[in-house]
Every structure is written in C-alpha cells, then in structure tokens.
C-alpha cells in the first residue's frame, strides 16, 4: 500500500478501473471519449472547460491531464489562467450567493 493518497503514476493506470467491472468501465470510457469529440463545442473549448472543472473538483490527475492536453492543443497559459478564474468566480459566487439566504434568515430572526 502506498504511503500517499495520490501518485502521479496512477493516472496512467486509470483504464484499470475496468478490470473489476468491464461493462461499466467500458460504458464510462466510451462515454468519456464521445464527450470530448468535436461537437457544437470544439475540442479546444472542451479541454478548457475540463481544465476549469479539474480545478473546481481539485483533482490532481485531471489537472495534470488537462494542462498537458491544453499545451498539446496550443492553448496558452493566459487562456488557461482565465479559465481557472471562471471556475474560481463561480466557486466564490456560489458561496456568496448563499449570503442572501443568510441575510434572509437574519432579517427573519433579528428584531
């Protein structure tokens, strides 16, 4: 058993999750591959969304994967950082918009 929760080398073994459930593993990876194909959105746009989401869910594997993917696609570091700020704005906004609930509660309870 490894001594840390995350090992960069584990990213390469992602496909192994199918070993213990072929059917669902295959369905997931087929779906995953289809999602990232060019559609109404370009592969490039999808890569930037993935990078932003990776930071939102703070998945180190995904951050490695989609930083590398972005570089391969010619995405610049400025574009990457802007995408992260979109994620951060939504994350921050999600906390702050609940402030309305807090204010409602205070207004209800406070004399």
């Amino acid at each position: 058993m490894q001594k840390t929760y995350y090992d960069p080398a584990d990213l390469k073994k992602f496909g192994k999750i199918s070993d213990w459930n072929q059917e669902l593993g295959k369905k997931f990876f087929d779906y995953y591959a289809k999602v990232f194909e060019e559609g109404a959105l370009s592969e490039r746009e999808k890569s930037l969304i993935a990078l932003a989401v990776a930071h939102t869910i703070q998945c180190p594997y995904c951050i490695d994967a989609y930083t590398g993917d972005g570089l391969q696609r010619g995405i610049t570091k400025e574009e990457m950082m802007e995408a992260l700020h979109v994620a951060a704005a939504i994350r921050g906004g999600a906390s702050l918009v609940h402030g309305v609930q807090m204010m409602n509660k205070v207004n209800k309870l406070d004399m």
């Binding site: 390469k12 370009s42 592969e43 490039r44 590398g68 570089l71 391969q72 696609r73 010619g74 610049t76």
Partner: protein
C-alpha cells in the same frame, strides 16, 4: 535563453555516443519501457526497410542565425560545418539521376552557406517536382544581404517551409529567441506580398510547428485551423499547410528534457502514444539524408546521432539507389518520436 550550441559549450550531450547511451540505458535497459526494435517487432515491422526513394534531403550546414532551445541539429552561429562546393557538385550529379520527386534543403539556416544560391540555381535547372528550402524566416530580416531571398525563392519556384512554434509572441520567442516572432511575422508578410502562401497560389508556403516544451503536438489539422485563424485575424497572414512535428529526444531537446527532469515522462508519453500505423509511413523509409560532408543517413536525426546508413554506399560520391533500396533502417529509441500519435516527419503527420 541559450546563446551557444552544445558543441561550443563542450557539453557531454554534444557527443552523439553519449546521447545514444542515454537513449539505451535507464528505463530502456531496466525493461520498464520496450526498446524500439522490440516494439516494432510486435507488429512484424522489424527490421524497418527502405522503400522507394521519394525525398532527397540535403543538409548544407549547421550554421544558423538562431539558437533554438529544441534544435536537434544543435545549430547556431558558432557551428562551422558547411557543405563545400565540391560536395554540392557531387549532390547535383545525384539530383540529376535520382528517382526522388522531392529535393529538400535544410540546415542550420541553409541560406548561410556561401554557395547556397549557386546550388539552388543549379539544382532548380534539373526540374525536380518539389524543391523545398527550409527557411527559418528570421534569416530574411537578419542582414541586408538576405533581404531579397523571397524574390530569389520565387524566381526558382522554391517551396518554402518555415518554422513557427506558435501564433503568439510569448511562446515563439521562448523557444526560438527574443525578437524571433516579430521578425518571422514581417518575413511572412513579405512572402505573402509576392504571392507565397496565398490562397490558390502555386508558390507554396508551409509552416512547421514544434511543441515549445515537453509535450507532444496535438492534432495537425486542428492546429492548422487555429494557426490560420490567428495569423489571419491578427496579422492578415496566409499560408498553405501546417506540419506538426514531434520533438525527438536528441541533442538540445534531450539536454532540455534531462535538465528539466522531463526525460522519463517524455519517453513514457512517446511510447504510450506509439502507433504501428505511423511506422508504415515513417519518413526514413522513403527519404535519404545527406550531411554537410556528403555522408548518407536514413534521416536528419540519425545524421545528428552519427548513425550512418546500413549500406555499402555511405557517401554521396558512392550514391547508388539500387544499393540503398531495401536497406535496413538504423534505429534507436529516438525513433519513438516519429511513431507517436499521428506520427511525425519533416512533412508533418504520417498516419
């Protein structure tokens, strides 16, 4: 930013034997990754065999006005290896009788060879179908004596292939040196102005994209679309095709990979992206590379690693297409660079 070649710095990586040792030791010796010979044997593609010769690529010298971080030639202003007129004359004899449809001049900056114009003049008279000069663009702006190169290329119907690592200044200058982007844009505008790269123009202008770091190139057609859109919108520049080329782990790029602790991860990514379909069309099977001193190699990369052709004909003076045909291609682990993903060659993707 580096300013001198590995040779000038007397780096151990200037030694091709040392490079080959690195490429055969470590993860390949331990068996963590399969050697290239074993990998292609899995699909019965070992030994790789030369097919009909289509491209004759001549390296007229390692001198260059730029010192790019990733350069597999280790080219730069301090390199003195320059093809002599005598060797050029031997090359011309071969160009006259070759069955190859493409003549591809490279360097260094080929234009810095003092006999470059004479050679182009003579070679163009032979009437080979596709006559490529790999020009780094900035050479046109580097000195007044090179300012008329676009017109010179046009008058000889030369197909210009130029490096452009990105459509933004930051990424371009980081790889190729400060000021390279602005000079390249200016040179491209001058080429466009006389018809090079314009839609439907027969004056061919293609760009070469190399990743500016330890990652593989993305999809060639998607990159071409992005390059075209950005260069047109930002600078009103046109070009025909983009060739996406993988950086091979030799010379200065190998030096960078090791210094930045990216070597093993990069080799893993090349091996993981191995594509047997790319092996079928890999450029060494239809190309012959001639070095500045007239020696023959399977490709420009083998030339830099000093791995000569496996044939009795080892020099341009001994050139014999029958002898060279069907020869075993000389390989090492750097060959994974040409078989990763959609494959890579001097003409871009191959699969």
């Amino acid at each position: 930013m580096i300013t001198t070649s590995l040779h000038k710095r007397e780096s151990e990586l200037a030694n091709s034997n040392r490079q080959l040792e690195i490429l055969s030791n470590g993860i390949f010796k331990s068996g963590d990754l399969p050697k290239f010979s074993a990998k292609i044997a899995e699909t019965n593609q070992f030994p790789l065999k030369a097919k009909k010769l289509e491209v004759l690529q001549i390296n007229v010298g390692y001198m260059c006005n730029q010192v790019c971080e990733h350069c597999h030639v280790d080219a730069g202003p301090d390199r003195k290896e320059i093809m002599t007129k005598e060797t050029m004359m031997q090359c011309l004899e071969v160009i006259k009788k070759t069955g190859a449809h493409t003549l591809d001049l490279t360097g260094g900056a080929p234009e810095m060879n003092p006999n470059f114009r004479w050679f182009v003049d003579e070679a163009s008279k032979v009437g080979i179908k596709d006559f490529i000069v790999r020009s780094n663009l900035t050479i046109i702006k580097s000195n007044k004596k090179f300012a008329d190169l676009p017109e010179f290329f046009k008058s000889h119907n030369v197909h210009v292939v130029s490096s452009m690592p990105h459509w933004t200044k930051g990424k371009t200058d980081k790889q190729r040196g400060t000021g390279v982007f602005d000079q390249s844009i200016q040179a491209l505008k001058e080429l466009n102005a006389i018809g090079y790269g314009m839609p439907n123009s027969s004056l061919r202008l293609d760009l070469v994209y190399n990743p500016s770091g330890a990652f593989l190139p993305g999809n060639q057609s998607a990159l071409e679309r992005d390059f075209k859109k950005a260069l047109l919108e930002d600078f009103n520049i046109h070009f025909h095709n983009l060739f996406a080329i993988t950086n091979l782990p030799i010379s200065r790029f190998l030096d960078y990979l090791i210094a930045s602790d990216n070597y093993e991860d990069y080799m893993y990514s090349l091996v993981e992206a191995y594509n047997p379909t790319a092996v079928k069309n890999v450029m060494c099977t239809n190309t012959l590379s001639v070095s500045w001193d007239g020696k023959l190699y399977d490709c420009d990369f083998n030339q830099m690693l000093e791995l000569p052709v496996n044939s009795k004909a080892k020099h341009i003076s001994e050139y014999n297409e029958d002898l060279l045909h069907n020869r075993d291609i000389v390989i090492s682990q750097h060959c994974y660079g040409c078989t990763a993903g959609a494959g890579s060659s001097c003409q871009g993707s191959v699969a």
